[in-house]
Structures are given as structure tokens and as C-alpha cells.
Symmetry: D2
Subunit: 271 residues, 4 copies
Amino acid sequence: MAYYGSPMLVDDLIFKPKHSLIDQSLHSTMGATTTNGDGFGIGWYGEGPEPAIYKNVSPAWNDANLHEIARQVRTPLLFAHIRAATGTAVQRSNCHPFRWGRWLWMHNGMINGFHEMKRDLMLQVEPSIFADMEGSTDSEMLFFLALSFGLTDDPIRAVERAVGLVEKVASDHGIPHPVQMTVATANGESVWAFRYSSEGKSRSLFFSTDVTRLRELYPDNPVLLNAGDETRLVVSEPLGDLPGAWNEVPESSAGIVRPGVDELIPFRPVA
Amino acid sequence: MAYYGSPMLVDDLIFKPKHSLIDQSLHSTMGATTTNGDGFGIGWYGEGPEPAIYKNVSPAWNDANLHEIARQVRTPLLFAHIRAATGTAVQRSNCHPFRWGRWLWMHNGMINGFHEMKRDLMLQVEPSIFADMEGSTDSEMLFFLALSFGLTDDPIRAVERAVGLVEKVASDHGIPHPVQMTVATANGESVWAFRYSSEGKSRSLFFSTDVTRLRELYPDNPVLLNAGDETRLVVSEPLGDLPGAWNEVPESSAGIVRPGVDELIPFRPVA
Amino acid sequence: MAYYGSPMLVDDLIFKPKHSLIDQSLHSTMGATTTNGDGFGIGWYGEGPEPAIYKNVSPAWNDANLHEIARQVRTPLLFAHIRAATGTAVQRSNCHPFRWGRWLWMHNGMINGFHEMKRDLMLQVEPSIFADMEGSTDSEMLFFLALSFGLTDDPIRAVERAVGLVEKVASDHGIPHPVQMTVATANGESVWAFRYSSEGKSRSLFFSTDVTRLRELYPDNPVLLNAGDETRLVVSEPLGDLPGAWNEVPESSAGIVRPGVDELIPFRPVA
Amino acid sequence: MAYYGSPMLVDDLIFKPKHSLIDQSLHSTMGATTTNGDGFGIGWYGEGPEPAIYKNVSPAWNDANLHEIARQVRTPLLFAHIRAATGTAVQRSNCHPFRWGRWLWMHNGMINGFHEMKRDLMLQVEPSIFADMEGSTDSEMLFFLALSFGLTDDPIRAVERAVGLVEKVASDHGIPHPVQMTVATANGESVWAFRYSSEGKSRSLFFSTDVTRLRELYPDNPVLLNAGDETRLVVSEPLGDLPGAWNEVPESSAGIVRPGVDELIPFRPVA
């Protein structure tokens, strides 16, 4: 889940029950994934130039410290992720979101054949950032490949090249349909979201309708009255019960959430 | 899950896939409860007079050390428990099984109104063992009440008195249907199992059919050939796919698994 | 360590290296206790009516999340505690500070003979708050005894009665010198600190010199220029290298840190 | 600490107090490093072809499960390691001993400039085992370099080549004195121990005197009477108080502990 908008208490975004578009939807998100007990993480922009991260290997619903922190932290840009491990160790360094400088990154999905391709992919990571990889997941590798291909300058192009590389290496290894992903990344000012799979059967991704439009639909909803015009949520599942609130990101697309007009464009891996 | 029989590798009892009555059923057990991520524990009789316990707050399926230990430990009497917390902290001291001297105890269910009754119940714990309580759960309290009422001398009578006390205190507080339980306890030579609820709607409990009888039903099953005659499993759910392998413990019953003839008798709380 | 003053980043109080009276002293504190690896905790007043707590059983210096949070949280009133366990389980519910409503409590020291006296002490805890005790330590018990004796109305009197009770019960059990303590408690507006031991040989406790006086001594110190006039630190050890910065709390004393004039008075247990 | 000899209860090797050469010395070992709270691990040969490992990030002295397991596991070959991290994450996959097939590996010391050299070293790891690296430490890297250079065939030669490579790469990077190490590795039948540093100032390493010789020195010591003739301990510090019990491994040496005559030979890195 990615939140971008007026500063909100994390508790209101990920724990508080019902009575608001956001809470409700997020709570449903959490509920839908409570069997994902392989760690969780939140990342947010607050004090200082770099985003903060709080990650843990215990199930989110059991983490008493998370409840405490969620009631103390306000942020205009929050990433929250619940992990279902796909073969790599359950350890903090493998939990999402990942951070590099001002950038956050989280990924749902997997790289098929990752164990087999790991060395070849690793060799494409820019040497100057090579040793900054802390964990052992395919998700972090994808992040560092994107960084190596210029994520901080042109995020969409960089992810297209990273995914293109993975598909190329997979092809060399005879591995079919290597990439399955929804990805979100941010630099504190904008959020980029991606939906793509080599097979063309990507897991779902949704973004919330423009708040000004939602206010017209639901003039009495107090949450919508308080939400800033720029408020946008990106989530894995069509949540909440307000018709018109959610829009599916099409297959092979990239979206940009930022001050001003957001954008949705095709995503085409570059080999 | 309680296992009593010829010494088995814990791995064969709780992790190994299919191909045997026991593994299969146990694996299913684990599978049926994988959303119970609030800690787990195993207890077994091995070296030394006291049983050993291994308990952890992380989900069982993520505990790499558990996999290691399961492949090293052989035991004729194993308790395994996966916890779904009902309001008390997720910490090792609240995980089952609990141990006192040679005794193990585990409980599925809950004491309704426990928070309200806690002090009154605690006052009934024998002062000499009072400070041995390490956690904060209703399950451990029930164990210590049973110990206070003579568990080590007459287990069934002691549990009847412990449950009777809880029902009495609940009645004083105006709390309906306070007890919901399946309980297993052992001293290294026998296992006692209980199924009871104040309301008369207890969660299920099953015990495995006598092995000599099962061998007649399934003369080609290699696991049954190797299993000792005394082998008995007590589980929460009717598992595996061998017709005739499982028998439901009736409502308000206590069973004794021990060398020689096992027994099943009515369970009647004593106020 | 207790901090009271102008809002500070927790990082500046417990992690940042040297270059300031506060950081330096606190860093020394942390250094002096790095062998205390039995958990740690911080408690602070921030958003909402209740203080927040972050506690963990891992050593503080290894907790990556603590570093993250410390760089995000600003507070005018911080408690920080590193635990050296004295016989009870290493679990989050046994870490300091403890919280009840708006109150925080932390304790260094121990109740000798606690295991033996536990039941008798527990019986004196007010029934309405009895079930709120979450852990198994002597420190939390002392907190709940103080709460039972009116901590929220008259903190010093309540602690005097709690300590008096412990000494009374110890006497009944023939246990000599039961209490060894430095305690700090707060309600968000004031901090109370106590130094006492039954034997008259209490562990040390120090409070920082009035900031206006320190500025006269060190007119060039930038930290002192920025620190608010009400800033006060209470620590276990005489830290930092500014002569005149620290004052020992005398044996059997209680101190009050609050807006306006602080106070230091004799502490006399009441049986 | 590495133990090789007649099967012993792990508890007797790493926890039991005094009264025996072994316990005493090991207990001292543990005591000498209790400030090393960055995880610990044990590895042992027991059931099945591969050694078992139990590793955890919490301090060893707080791990209740370790105490349980130590009282249940008997082994003729035990590795025990307490970690003091040198810059990489405190996570299970970074704890020692490391395992690959039948091999265990543990390391005290560090590779200076590891962050800088990491990529170059990683490229020398045999592609077929590349993805088996689970953590991020210099210690595990050294293990996989040694495996890549033939550890399973000629352990001493392989470690000489691995260390030689590190020194070569360090030289290319202008990093002085890159290697500081005592290393132990085993395959279940023999133990190899190494003491080496590029600077020629290695941390200490000791091995126990031949048991038949020790029995002559201490004819009344019951532990020595029970210890098998092949019993040998390798430890970091000269422990215990039996004069003649410990012998320092010389600078730049490798030792082999195995059935029959042990051996001590010079260790010379091969570039």
C-alpha cells in the first residue's frame, strides 16, 4: 500500500477501524493478507532527508511496537508492505520497503528462477552500490538493478531496463515467464507504481479516484472533506465499498503520483 | 497434537510430507492452523527427568531452528502446539506447552471473562507454586489451578476441580459459559486428554485408532508396520484419509493414553 | 535516563555522538551499560493523551528499528532504560518503562526475595488494576503497588507506602534488606525520581544542574544555549566531563522535576 | 570453541558450571565474551548426514531454548560461536557456524576493507554455489571462497588460496593488512583450525593437551578419566586453571584434529 497526500497518522492509515474510506480500505488490505506472516515493513518521509523504515520479521498484527509507532508518526507519504516469502530467509533485511538514499522500493510478486540467475543479475549491479545490498531477495535485486539503470534520473525507463535485463538473462537460462510484479517506488516527492508480468497475467493493482471527484460522489463523507486534493492511494486489491473509488491499473502500465496531474503510461521492458 | 508411542524423530511427526499415516495427519494439522501465527511450542521427554520444551513467538513455519531441532530429536512422547492468541501478549512464556516438574500441559480454547476473574483465580493457586507461573494466559492459570488441586496425584479429578472452580468464580461474576477447552497433559508415562465446555459445545478432539486394529485395516501401510502397538495420537481435527483411523472424543470426556489399555471416561467439573 | 525539557529528537538524546552535554553524557550512559543486553525501552510523550513506548528484548545497540525511530521522534519528556535482568524472563512485557494510563515507570535495582514474597505483594494490588499487570518483574509489581497506594494523586507518598509494604512483607518472611531502587515515574507534566535502599546503600542517581547556572559556567557551549531553561536530566551515573554539571541525589531522597522550581525532599517508607 | 571427542551433552560443554576441565574452560570462554551480544550459534553432528545448526540473534545467555536444547543434544563434534558483529547486520544468516553440505565453518576476526572488496571477492565464488550464500558477512564469503578453491578436497590448501585471493584483491585496492582470522572448519570426521593475519599479529588460538598426557598430570580429575583419548578442544583463549592443559597455536599455522595423530603445520597464503 502506498499513501500520498496530506500528512496522516500512520495509525489512521493502517490500523484504525472503518468509518473512513482510507482506514476501511487499508484495514481490508491488512485483513486480506493476514496469512502473510513473513514479516512486514513501513517506510515514510518525516524528519531529515532520508525516509525512515520500520521493518520486522514477526507478523504485523503481533507487533506491539508497531501499534505504538503508528500512533505517533504523521507523514504525507507512506509505504506499507506485508511479506509472503517466496524462498528467501525471513529476516529484517529481506523485508520491504527497501531504502537507498531518498528512495523507497517495495515489490509484490517474484522473479522465477531467481536462485539460478542470481549471480548473473548481481554482476549487472553498479559496483559502487553493490555492497549496499543487505538482503538476499529477488525484490531487492530488482531495486538495485533499477538503481544501476538510472532509477533516480528516469524511474520508469530504469525499471523497464531492469525488467528487460531479467527477461534477457532468464531467456539465456531457458526460464519462462521470469517476472511477476507490482512495484512501488518513491523519492519523497513522487510515487511510481508498476504492474507487469512476463506472462501478461499480472497480479492486480489499483489506485484511488481523484479526491475532488470522490467528494462529488460522496458529499457527506467526512474523511473526504479532510483529505487534501492530492491524496492518492495505490493498493493491491479493490477495497472498501465506495463504488467509483478504485481504478485498476491496466496490465503492463506504469503510473506516476505527484503534485499536480498524475499520469498512467504503458510499461515496456527494454532488453 | 500429542504423540505417544515408539520413539520417533520430531521431524517425522510434525514436518515430513505424506507417505505415512502419522506424518500425513500431522502435516494436515499444521496446515489447518497455519493462520495461527501467534507462537508455537513443542515439548518432549528425552534426556533427564524433566521434559524439554522449545517455544517461540514467531510462526512455526518460519523458524529455521525448529526445522533443525526436529531433525535431531527422537522422543516417545511429544506435545506440539500452535497458538492463536486470545488477548494476552505474544511472548514465549505464553506459548504452550507449559511445564512444571515432569508435567507438560497444553490447551486450546479460552476462559471467557478471564481478565475479570484473573485475581480471584490466582488466589486459589497453591502459594508454594504461585511464583512459578511465568506468563499471563488463562491456559497457564488453568494448569496451575489443576496443579493446586492435585494434578500430579489424580489428574482427572484435579482438572475437574480446576474447571469447577472457574465455573464457580464465573458464576459469582455473572459470566456465562466461561470454559471452552481441549486440554492435554502428560507426566512422561501417560497422557491425559480432556474435551469440555461449559456450554456443551466443545471444539473437537480426536484420538487415533489402536494400531493393531489399523494394521488389520491397512495391512500394506509401512508406517503402521513400524509403529509400536502402544502408538496413539490425540489431535484437534479428524485428519488424514484413512477411514477408521480417527475417533472423536465425546463431549465432556477425559481420555487416558498409557502403557496397556487406554481409557475414556466422563468428565464432570466439581465445584 | 529521564529527560525533561524543550522538545528534542530522541536520536540526539540517546545516540548522537559527543559535542553536547546531553549527547555525551547519554552516550556514556549507554556505553557504561552495554553489557546490559536483556532488553531496553523508551517511553515518551507525543501525539495523544498517553505516552508511547517502544520496548524490545534485543540489545539496544542492535535494534535497527530503534535507530530509525530515534531519528523521527521529538519529545519534551523521554524515559530510556536498559535492562539487566535479575531472574525474570527476558520478554517485552518485562522491559521498562512500564505504562499505565498517562504514567510511565522505570526502576533500576531489585526486590530481594521477590519470588518468595510475590503472592503476598500481589494481593495488595488494587483488584481493579490487577489484571493490567502484563509481565512478571518486581519492578512492575512495585509500580502497581504504588498505583494501588495513590500514585496518580500523591506520587511520593504512594511510593513511600509501596516500599513500606515491601519492607513489611519482607520482615514477615525474614528477608533482610529487601529494597534496592532508583525509580523514575512521570505523568507527562512532571517527573519524580527516587533513590532508596533498605540497607542505606543505594545505587547512585544524579540530576543535571539548572541550565541557567550551566550557561554561566560554560558561556560558549552551543547545546546549553539552545536548551530550554527547564531542561533537566536524571541519570544513574555522573556523566560527561563538565565540572559542575551533575549533582548526586542523596540517599533516601525523592526529587520532583516540573515546570518552575524543582524540589528534593527526604524519602521515608511508610509501613 | 570446537569440541571433538566422545559424545558429550552440549550442556556439559557450554553451560555446566565448573568441576571439569572442559566445562570450566568453556564456561570461562563464554564468560569472557558475554559482551558479545550480536548473536550466537552452535553446530553439531548428530542424526542424518548433515550437521545441525542452531543460531539466534539474541544474546546466548538469554536464549531459553538454547538451554533446553543443550540439555538434550549429545554430540562428538560441536562448534560453538558467539558473534561480535563488525559492521554487517545482526541476523540469523550472519551468525556462525555456517554450513554447506557436511561442512561447518566459523571465523573470528575480520576482512578489512570488506565493503570495498565485496564485489571482486564475490565474483571468485564458484557459480554453482554462488546462490547458496545466505548472509552478508566477510566470514561467510571466506567460507565460500574456500569452498570454491577445494575445501572439501584439501582444506588447508583451499584456505591458503582463499586468504591469498583476499590479500591479492586488497593489494589491488590499496588496502593494508586485510585478513585477521582464527577459523575452524569440520566435515564430521576431522576439524581444521587456522590462525593467521596479514599483519602477523593474529588473535590467539589454543588447543587442549592430549588427554592421555593430561591424565598423567591430573590422575584424580574425574572428567579426564571419562574423556576419550581423542578428545580435543580448540578455543580462542587460554582457559581453565590446569597448568599444562593448553597450548598456543603459533602464528600462521593450521592444525588438524582427527582420529589418530593430530597435526600442526605452517599456513602460507597462496596468491
